[in-house]
Structure formats: structure tokens, C-alpha cells
């Protein structure tokens, strides 16, 4: 049984249909990447998973249990197991880095402050941001905010981590750091679904790549297959361009 099963989901913003029946599975401990041109709906897939954009058709299962996005109880349960790192980080501007990371563990999980803060410092250390624990988001660079956002998501102790373009704002050195962190998490058995334009990163870290275009899955295969010998014309075209570029 897959850890996360996405079965033909549809979604729209207002009257604009964005997802037209997306399906793929993520096994426990597996890292799956969503790739595709800008505007193809990758972020929207992650948003539907955590119930921020309503699903208008199809269904999502976590560990075989389907999530009812109309029931707030079910959505809470889903959010309890999945944590998302947003493309735009969305750190709380009114809180320090440490405040951002400890907010949910303290207020939602009701854990003790000292314990949570010690753990938060470890997580910040993991992403190389411990020295900025008391800075505010508007005093950080994009890449620094990105790493804090990752620490904040990890502090939720999720089973499934959803990462949206986590390397887009990072310089090559930091990409490696984040890559390390992701690899370590994968080794620890964390299930991950990530969106990325960084093909080298995708190839290195993921066991399956889902190629999307215009709200549809065009092809899903292991990276070696999809990068070097894709079945579809569209994928060949896309990867031909991005890999050469």
C-alpha cells in the first residue's frame, strides 16, 4: 500500500480549471519529484494535499485512509501527517526564526517550551541557520528564509514532507546543504514529495519523477528513464531543453 496515493484529482481557482485528473503514488520512505513547466499546476497539487485548495474531483489517500476535504476533522488529521514548505516560504513576519519554528509544536501539539526550543535549535543547526535563531524574517535573505521554512516544517514531525521549489532561492553551495539534509531525511525513512526545477537535484535524490504539463500527468518514471529515454514527445521536448540549458 502506498504511503500517499493521489487518485485523479481535479482542482480549480475560481472558474479556472488547473488540475485535470492527477494520479500518482508515493511509497513509504520514497522521494518523488514533480517537474514540469511553470504554471503546470505543481504547487497546486501540494496545496490540495494540505487542504488549502479544494479538490473538486478524485481523491487522496494517506496510508490507505482517504481524506475527506469537506470534513475539517479529516483535514486536520491530514495536516497532522503532512507538512508543506511553500515556494514563497511564508514565514510569519511577526516572529523570530525560533518563534516560527516552535510555534506549531507549542501551540498545536502543546509540547513544553524548553523541549521544543532545544529541538528547534537542532533543526536550525541541520539547515545551517542556528546562528540566526533570534533574527526576524525580514532581516534574512531568501535562501535563509527558505531554510528556516524547512526547519519549521520538520518541527511538525511530519510523516510526509511536501517541498515546493526549496532550492530555487539557494546558491550552489547551499543547494548541496539542503540536498544533504533531504538525503539524510530520506535515509531516515521520511516520505517526500518535492517540486523542483533543479534537474540534477531531482535525478540525484528521487526514486520517481512525475512530469506534469497543463494540469495533467504526462509521464511518471524513475529519473534515469524519464530524463534519458522518455516515452512521450512532450517530456522529451521539455527535458531536452532543460537538461541542455
Amino acid at each position: 500500500m502506498p504511503h500517499l496515493a493521489v487518485n485523479g484529482i481535479h482542482a480549480k481557482y475560481g472558474s479556472l480549471d488547473v488540475l485535470h485528473g492527477i494520479s500518482f503514488d508515493v511509497d513509504r520512505g520514497e522521494v518523488v519529484s514533480l517537474v514540469g513547466p511553470s504554471g503546470s499546476g505543481k504547487s497546486t497539487v501540494l496545496r490540495t494535499l494540505v487542504g488549502l485548495t479544494p479538490v473538486t474531483g478524485g481523491g487522496i489517500e494517506v496510508d490507505g485512509t482517504s481524506i475527506d476535504y469537506r470534513s475539517s476533522r479529516s483535514v486536520r488529521a491530514a495536516r497532522d501527517r503532512m507538512a508543506i514548505v511553500f515556494q514563497q516560504y511564508n514565514l510569519f513576519q511577526n516572529m523570530s526564526v525560533l518563534g516560527n519554528v516552535t510555534l506549531a509544536p507549542r501551540r498545536v501539539k502543546g509540547r513544553k517550551r524548553q523541549e521544543v526550543e532545544a529541538e528547534a535549535m537542532d533543526l536550525l543547526d541541520l539547515v545551517g541557520m542556528a546562528h540566526k535563531a533570534h533574527a526576524y524574517p525580514d532581516e534574512l535573505s531568501g535562501g535563509q528564509q527558505q531554510r528556516v521554512a524547512i526547519a519549521r516544517a520538520l518541527a511538525l514531525r511530519p510523516e510526509i514532507l511536501l517541498l515546493d521549489e526549496v532550492t530555487s532561492a539557494l546558491d550552489p553551495e547551499l543547494v548541496n546543504e539542503v540536498l544533504d539534509a533531504v538525503r539524510r531525511l530520506a535515509a531516515e525513512g521520511m516520505t517526500m514529495l518535492l517540486v523542483s526545477h533543479e534537474m540534477a537535484f531531482v535525478r540525484e535524490v528521487s526514486s520517481k519523477v512525475v512530469f506534469m504539463d497543463q494540469g495533467k500527468v504526462i509521464e511518471a518514471a524513475p529519473p534515469a528513464k524519464i530524463f534519458d529515454a522518455p516515452d512521450s514527445e512532450r517530456a522529451r521536448d521539455f527535458f531536452g531543453k532543460v537538461l541542455r540549458g
Binding site: R79, N90, A104
Partner: protein
């Protein structure tokens, strides 16, 4: 003119000055109390207004209607309505309480709009981030949204309260011993109208002007982003 000059020493006697100071204090304290309580209730109102779901529709409509209706009724009419309504249900409510309740009712309607504007100024993505972490609606509001909305809310809310110091003059009509009432009383005692109401006007000015300056200063200060302010 001669009359004014000849009345001056007597008018500015210690006794009258103390009375005036007391009345000014009353004016200030009822404005402050009414606006503070009103502001608190307006926060609740705005929060209720954001309740999602179909079942909460009547609640949302009531909140919107409250703001729309009370902004369109003269404060004087509100005072009379509160006065007579309270007198039919209870007998021993002080006039000061009635004044504070009237101010409160009015302040809710005005500050609710200010608060809503502040909340709308916080990017929706902040709320989404909080939701995705399972923070409750209330927690999202007081932990993430309101702290970011204060700089937008506080200056106009203070400006409202300061300008309302003047509007409380109407409360004199039901006999609260505030500045305007004291003025009419002194006028009835035979003091020159020019002397009395000129002095009363100056008293209001002395309260309103510095406070409004303070409000503007605060607005400028809060408008500077955190990074540019003094280091913590």
C-alpha cells in the same frame, strides 16, 4: 466686551477651574473607556464576521448590518436610544455608564471597519501557512494576523478616539457633568457666553490637538518597517 473683562477674575476662580478640570477629566475618561471597550468588542465582531460555513451566514450578516446601520445613525440619536432603553429595563444605571455604553456602541461600528482593513492588509499566504500547520482560526488570528495588522490598525483607531473626544460633547444633553454640560451650567449662572464657550473650546483644543499630534507621530513610526527602526 467690558462684561467679559470684568467677569474674568471671577470666572477663572480656583473653584471654577477645578470644576472645569474635573469635567475635562470626565470627558477624557468616558471617551477612553467607551473607545477601549468598543475596540475590544469590535475585535470580537470582526472575528465573528470571518466565521466560515453556511450556518454562520446569519452571524456574518448581523455583523455587517451592525456596522452599516450604526455608522448611519447620529450619535445623539444613539445616546437617546441607549438612555431610554436602559431606563426601561433598569432604574439605577448612572448617566456616566449610559454615556460610556453609547460611545461604545458607536466606537464598535467605526473601529470594526478599521480593524477589518488592518486584517485585510496581512497577506493571505500568512493565514494559509498557519492553517497548513493546524493552527486554529483563533490562534491564527491572535498569533499571526493581528500582530502584523497592528501598525495598520492602531493609528486610525487612535485618530478615531481622539476625534471622538469632541463628539462626546453631545452627551451633555443627557446631563453627564462633562465639559459641555459644565459650560452650559456656567453660562446659565450668568457668565458671558463668549467667555464660557471660548474657554470650553480651548479646553477641547488642549485635549484634542496634542493627542492628534501624538497619533500622527505614532503613525509615522509604525509605518517604518521593523528593520529600519531602532535595533532591538
Amino acid at each position: 466686551m467690558e462684561r467679559i473683562l470684568s467677569q474674568m477674575p471671577e470666572f477663572f476662580s480656583a473653584k471654577n477651574l477645578v470644576l472645569l478640570a474635573q469635567s475635562a477629566g470626565l470627558t477624557l475618561s468616558m471617551t477612553l473607556m467607551g473607545c477601549l471597550i468598543g475596540f475590544g468588542l469590535a475585535l470580537v465582531l470582526v472575528y465573528l464576521r470571518t466565521t466560515p460555513g453556511l450556518w454562520a451566514l446569519p452571524l456574518r450578516v448581523t455583523c455587517i448590518a451592525y456596522v452599516e446601520v450604526f455608522r448611519r445613525i447620529p450619535f445623539l440619536v444613539v445616546i437617546y436610544l441607549v438612555l431610554f432603553f436602559i431606563q426601561t429595563i433598569a432604574t439605577d444605571v448612572s448617566l456616566f455608564t449610559i454615556a460610556v455604553i453609547s460611545i461604545c456602541i458607536y466606537a464598535i461600528a467605526y473601529t470594526a471597519d478599521i480593524i477589518r482593513g488592518g486584517i485585510d492588509s496581512v497577506p493571505y499566504t500568512q493565514i494559509e501557512a498557519a492553517q497548513a500547520m493546524n493552527l486554529s482560526r483563533l490562534q491564527t488570528m491572535y498569533l499571526c494576523v493581528l500582530p502584523q495588522a497592528w501598525p495598520v490598525i492602531v493609528p486610525p483607531a487612535i485618530a478615531f478616539a481622539v476625534s471622538f473626544i469632541k463628539d462626546t460633547a453631545l452627551v451633555s444633553q443627557i446631563g453627564v457633568f462633562e465639559l459641555t454640560f459644565r459650560g452650559k451650567e456656567l453660562n446659565n449662572q450668568g457668565y458671558s457666553g463668549a467667555l464660557v464657550f471660548g474657554t470650553i473650546a480651548l479646553c477641547y483644543f488642549a485635549m484634542s490637538f496634542p493627542l492628534s499630534m501624538l497619533g500622527q507621530h505614532l503613525e509615522k513610526r509604525l509605518a517604518t518597517p521593523r528593520g529600519k527602526r531602532n535595533p532591538r
